[in-house]
């Protein structure tokens, strides 16, 4: 497959037929819009990556010889010998100055939520910080997810507010990790061609009738406006949800059609493996960021096939055949370590692609991007105890190039294997991961002190404060 096949897309001159306001041919940076530019700062971008099955903590953590992990510590990754890096983090060595692995958190609030499928519960907690709405047929959220929250603040009205994508193999597909303001899951697109069409279709195939399409949308919106007052409030609200989006689509129609960008890429071709699909989506994300088509994207990584990481001799099925048994089968623990290693290699390529892409603001796209790499679980055994995200980039806010460790001291009991606690529960867990969401939101310019749950109580009645960022990540 041909990688990074660039295509210069030239914007059309303004609205071809004089309808609406055109922006073609103008500098992307001059187009403004909401977000950081409106806040007075440079454009920032956010990419959330969520893989399946959490981390094999014992093989993920970094513990140079002689380090005492009963106390907090930090490691300068730019100086740490590569031999001291753990296998799942090794592939990111080349980007060590950009990364910030956080060995301090738990998904403790997911443990406190009602019983349910721990994957579903984990996805909601991990990315919204809030409890699950179990009244829905498929677990929904009770609040907006982090990406949507940030998109609300930083997206341009004339471009896509956010992009939600998944990388699928033949096993479990990537699950929705984005939730709207009502907690409903937002659909993911798995086909790179369709993603490309969303991003570059309007500008790569300039349509002189864009004004007409906008008029069609405006007509539909006006019909809604005429009808709405005649409806009872519940029906009105239902229509409002749809036609607000129609109105927004009308607003961005010409912006998307008149995109002018050196970073656009050609429509992707065939892909035959998880890696290829990942790389293709990464190219699309890079191009979308470079062209300021969107400022927020999520990549939900589906389950890789076992032969993608050399475990096909163990099982055909990662989830049921390997993941659940990491604590009673050394070989399966090793396989899931390799699974993470494979993802880390993919992440390293992602960082490289974004680092190689020039940004219209100067520097590279990566220089203006924050990647949050997380998961829906703490470990493949369905534990919530060690939640091990890696922040990549965002050095305008974070002091990167460090490995940050904090011992678990939060009084929320979480399920652990019997080898860790005979009764199956640890008495304490890591910092609530809500702090990660706050840190991320603040890095993106949002002034808030909590995302999702503000305060909660552990099983023994201890109060737990989930507000504020993770201490010590900045400065």
């Amino acid at each position: 497959m041909q990688r990074r096949d660039f295509l210069r897309i030239l914007g059309l001159s303004g609205a071809a037929f004089g309808v609406g306001a055109g922006i073609g041919g103008r500098s992307l940076l001059a187009e403004g819009g909401a977000g950081n530019a409106a806040l007075g700062g440079p454009i920032r971008r956010l990419l959330l990556v969520s893989h399946c099955h959490g981390w094999t903590y014992d093989s993920w953590k970094i513990r140079p010889k002689g380090i005492d992990d009963s106390k907090p510590f930090e490691l300068d990754l730019t100086k740490l010998d590569q031999a001291d890096w753990s296998k799942p983090l090794q592939p990111l060595f080349e980007h060590r100055h950009r990364i910030l692995p956080i060995d301090a958190l738990s998904l403790g609030t997911a443990e406190l939520d009602m019983d349910g499928n721990r994957h579903d519960t984990g996805w909601v907690h991990a990315w919204t910080g809030a409890n699950v709405d179990f009244s829905k047929p498929e677990a929904a959220a009770t609040q907006m997810s982090l990406d949507q929250l940030i998109a609300t603040h930083i997206s341009r009205k004339d471009r896509l507010p956010s992009l939600e994508m998944s990388i699928n193999d033949s096993g479990e597909p990537g699950r929705p990790v984005s939730y709207d303001a009502k907690g409903a899951r937002l659909p993911l697109e798995a086909d790179p061609i369709k993603v490309w069409q969303r991003i570059f279709g309007p500008s790569a195939n300039p349509n002189p009738l864009t004004g007409g399409h906008r008029e069609a949308l405006n007509y539909a919106w006006r019909e809604y406006s005429k009808l709405a007052p005649k409806l009872d409030p519940i029906h009105r609200q239902r229509l409002e949800g749809h036609y607000d989006l129609v109105h927004r689509l009308s607003q961005r129609l010409e912006g998307m059609a008149n995109l002018s960008c050196d970073g656009a890429i050609k429509m992707p071709g065939a892909t035959s493996s998880f890696d290829e699909r990942f790389d293709t989506m990464v190219d699309l994300v890079g191009a979308a960021f470079s062209c300021d088509v969107t400022r927020v994207a999520t990549l939900s990584l589906g389950e890789m096939k076992t032969d993608e990481f050399g475990a096909d001799h163990i099982s055909d099925n990662v989830h049921k055949g390997i993941a659940h048994s990491i604590y009673d089968n050394v070989e399966k623990h090793g396989a899931m370590t390799n699974y993470l290693h494979r993802h880390a290699k993919q992440m390293a390529r992602l960082v490289q692609v974004l680092s190689d892409l020039p940004d219209p603001q100067g520097g590279s796209v990566m220089d203006h991007t924050l990647i949050v790499w997380g998961s829906e679980l703490g470990d493949p055994w369905h534990g919530y105890w060690h939640y091990c995200p890696v922040l990549i980039g965002g050095d305008w806010h974070f002091n990167t190039g460090r490995y940050v460790y904090r011992p678990h001291e939060t009084p929320i009991e979480v399920l652990v294997p019997s080898s860790a606690a005979p009764d199956g529960y640890s008495e304490v867990s890591g910092l609530p991961h809500q702090h990660l969401l706050v840190s991320t939101a603040q890095a993106m310019g949002l002034e808030l002190d909590h995302v999702g749950i503000e305060r909660t109580q552990g099983q023994r009645g201890d109060h737990v404060d989930c507000r504020g960022p993770i201490p010590g990540l900045t400065g």
Binding site: F17, E111, D115, N117, P137, E138, S162, E164, N168, S170, G171, P173, D180, A184, R185, L186, P187, E189, A190, D191, P192, I193, Q197, R198, G201, N205, N207, P208, L209, G211, G212, H213, E215, A216, Y219, A220, E223, L227, K230, L231, H235, R238, L239, G241, H242, L245, R248, L249, P268, G269, A270, T271, S272, S315, D316, N317, G321, H324, S325, L415
Partner: protein
Amino acid sequence: MLESAANTANREWSHPTTGARPQLVACLRRLWPIVLASTLVLGCETPVTDKVAPTEQNPLIALTPTEFNNSVRDLMGFSSDVNQWPAAPQLGIAAPLGAGGGIFGIGSPAPAVWPYSFPDEARVDGFEGVDGGQVPSDYLTEQIQKAARHFGAFALVSPVFFTCEGFADLEAEAQSSCAEQSLIRFAARAWRRPLSSKETLRLQSLWQTMALLGTPEQAIGLSVSAILQAPAFMFRVERGDVSRRIGDALPLTSWEMASRLSYALWDTMPDQELFAAAASGQLETRAQVEAQARRMLNDPKALKGLQHFHHQWLGTDRLYRISPSRRVYGPLFGIPPVPPLDTTGDGEWPALMNPLRFSYKVETDLFIRDALFGQPDAQGDTVAGGAKVGTLTALMTMENGYVSSFTAPVYGTGVCDSVEFKGQSSKGKGTGCTIDETKVDLDPKKQTSGMVAGVAAASTQYTVTFHPATFEKTQRAGILTLPSVLALGAHAVHPSPILRGKRLLERVACIKFGAPPANAEAAAPPDTPDDSSTNRERTQAATSGPACSGCHESLGLNMAGFAFEHYDSFGHWRAKDGKKDVDASGLLPIGGDEPIAFTDGVDLARKLAQSDRVRDCYVHHWTRYVTGTEVQDNHPELQRIQTDFRTKDDVIELLVALVTSEMFRYTKAPAQQEGN
């Protein structure tokens, strides 16, 4: 007919009805001047009671992806066979759909001209078009807009769009006039009701604006796309007839009833006859609705609607999700369990799985058809197994079905006699079914791309031959024992009694389970080959703890699944699980009813077919499906219909009862309603 109806309604909709009016006057207004006044009086239903029972909620339902596509097809007057569609003129209206490699590298097809591929709905219990399962999103809105653009151009080649002849050859002024009239007529059909005078004016204004933006053809395409994005097309707006309010209930207007009926029974917009009935006020009484419903259920579109319901009921519209292990099941199909290292065999398994998933879907379609409408040209009114055609019992017990050239190895211990698999006759190898010598080639070229969307795309055109087959009655009977249904309740290596049991109890018996306890999933047995114990033994051991046994044992979740242990992850019948004989017998506690003793899945299916609980549950699913909202168990109309279905067991009569019920014909009046 619709044109005159539109004229009539222009007057009506421009004079809003506020507050109560004498019913006779209101009735006359609605029907004038289509038929004689004396007939009108007789046509109006005079309530004999001041209380009727609509559903508790009155949701505003958007067209589902299926309904959107079917409605566009009918609006344009095209066939369900997309190969019969004329090519759309290249107007530059539609966003390029593109064609490319596909995410699995086996070549994705050029996107289908029809149906348009929308993001899946969130759904409620597997069903589309139900309140709470429809979620707006930016992406969905974009897709609707793209679909509207895509279909807009087809208006120009539609045999039913233009109100004039030879549009292209007309003078500019005549063209404009024709386009305007055509758009007004199109909008009335798309919105499934007459237009008000103000709506007509706005449409004229739309046309005039669009006409300035491009050629007349482009302007028509753009205007059609606008009409398809308007709320009156996208949503089933039901405000009820305020003038005939009865207590808290409003009867639906005839136009609203026409839409409700057609989407409930056909998954598409009303046809001309239904529109005509609405225009003449012939959808107000129970008898009038019943007459239309019976006509509609005799139409081929009803079969599609019924198949769609049953696929959603049992989840077989998501067959693209099945992904059994090549390592375990490859040999069943003559494929080595491990591909050679040179990767030459990497495509073998996907090349089988895509047409196989497709075959499963079509086999299920055909099974539903035969159970509910009888085999084409069949004599008598019973199906194999003895049940009457058109009953839930037939669906649950019928002993014949279809086998395709791709699924042959799944049936029986080997394969069905005389079915060719991969070009080789398998005659004499199997005993699972016998094949009717008359081959039925329903459609020699089927494309699987629609089915597998979401996981994989495949452009390969498969030749799939479907053979009528009589199953070995000890191995397979009824829809619950179809490989398609069974394969959905399985992991890659082992079938899952838990998944199968949960789906059976939830979907077939309406027994609801709460969320599983923490870590329940991790406690499930690993999905790896294991000859040392049976799947049943491992499942029992994993779920016997106190946190699990409540659902898995007391409520029968495991037992409902164990009944189908004779079927592996493909739904292939097996006598042994590893080294031991399969034990598929048990005693199923089914809600508070008398437990059902069974010897295997076939036996259980036959007994469930006679269960009042199962019949009640089936009615409940249908009720929610046709009304688009959850209906409480104690709703009097629901209970009445359930009681009736318990004895009659007639699916067509059930549907007639549902659409003539007060739940369907009335809507709950809003607390406050502003004037028109």
